[in-house]
Symmetry: C2
Subunit: 202 residues, 2 copies
């Protein structure tokens, strides 16, 4: 996986300017509505320079919206201290990254694009659920790790959608500490408590 600073750390500063402009536009509008020309205008450079650094719009998108954190970091930060407070640490990890434009724009860009494009939906499924959450649920050695990861995804993606795409004011205005205290117990339950099986089984 390429780092966020791209594959040419020695290149001119405008490469990182273009990347930030592209992340911002993809997050605001989703893949389809963004053009190379629009990214170039946002970054204040010539479109040819965007192509030079990144190739096609698809290649640019794929490179920029790589998961902005590795599964290893999640395991160390979130699971390292043990099971107590695990849900709160997971929510805080995700909220910190969602609320930092450098990483949040990439997540919101994938979310917007996933709504329209099956390939981006698959990326959310594979990278965000499999690479981010399933390592956590597998490491816990609880039953049904894939269902637990999906439950956590449904709440964490719902927060991203409700705050950053739908713009529900009470969430936008809440502090990270407040949301951690509210959502932490939900995630803690999905991760570590027995899951009921409905009417079918005990």
């Amino acid at each position: 996986m390429l780092g966020r600073t791209g594959r040419r750390p020695g290149a001119s500063g405008s490469r990182e300017d273009i990347a930030a402009a592209a992340r911002r536009l993809f997050a605001d509008r989703g893949f389809d509505a963004v053009t190379i020309r629009g990214i170039a205008a946002e970054a204040g450079v010539d479109p040819a320079l965007v192509h030079h650094f990144f190739g096609t719009k698809r290649q640019l998108f794929d490179e920029l919206i790589e998961l902005p954190f590795a599964g290893d970091d999640v395991l160390a930060d979130v699971l390292g201290p043990g099971t107590d407070g695990l849900g709160e640490r997971l929510v805080r990890f995700v909220l910190n990254r969602l609320r930092d434009p450098a990483t949040g724009d990439a997540v919101v860009a994938v979310l917007r694009t996933a709504a329209a494009q099956p390939a981006a939906a698959r990326r959310l499924r594979e990278e965000y659920t499999r690479r981010l959450l399933e390592p956590v649920t597998h490491a816990l050695r609880m039953d049904r790790p894939r269902l637990r990861a999906a439950l956590c995804s449904s709440q964490l993606l719902g927060i991203a959608l409700a705050e950053h795409v739908i713009g529900l004011d009470p969430l936008v205005e809440a502090s990270t500490d407040e949301l951690v205290a509210i959502y932490g117990p939900t995630l803690q339950r999905y991760l570590t408590e027995p899951l009921p099986r409905g009417d079918a089984a005990g």
Copy 2:
């Protein structure tokens, strides 16, 4: 608000066929990727007939994706029996509608379209949160009804997104009873229990 069967109940059956085809396509692809011609082909009619019944694509979308249930039904079904089991009844109400193509397609269509278009995001904010959930939280007479409605939205929209747009298998494969048993306590807590205020206040 117009009912799902539209404003010309006496018209030919093909009007309802067109409506169902349009809902299906908007749910699969979102607003931008759907054309009147595509809807006509899906319904097996001439595009002129689509225009005749519904006007422009925007007018068709606005009419078809009206909230497929009224706030009054929610209050009666979900709140009527009292506070016990409220979270489970709310999740079941929403899952039943999401998993029924006649109503679920409209919700998924708005969700997909909201990801790309601010007008549809506003609709989700206004109709689904304000008209569906805020009446419930206001009727409960708990503190912070708008925050409680937003918390419920974040989990319910997250379920819709994770199951119907991202396609997370463990959720797709779970029975409604199982998801009601798992998600019910989450919604119950967001609706009826004291909400922590983070580090700021008690």
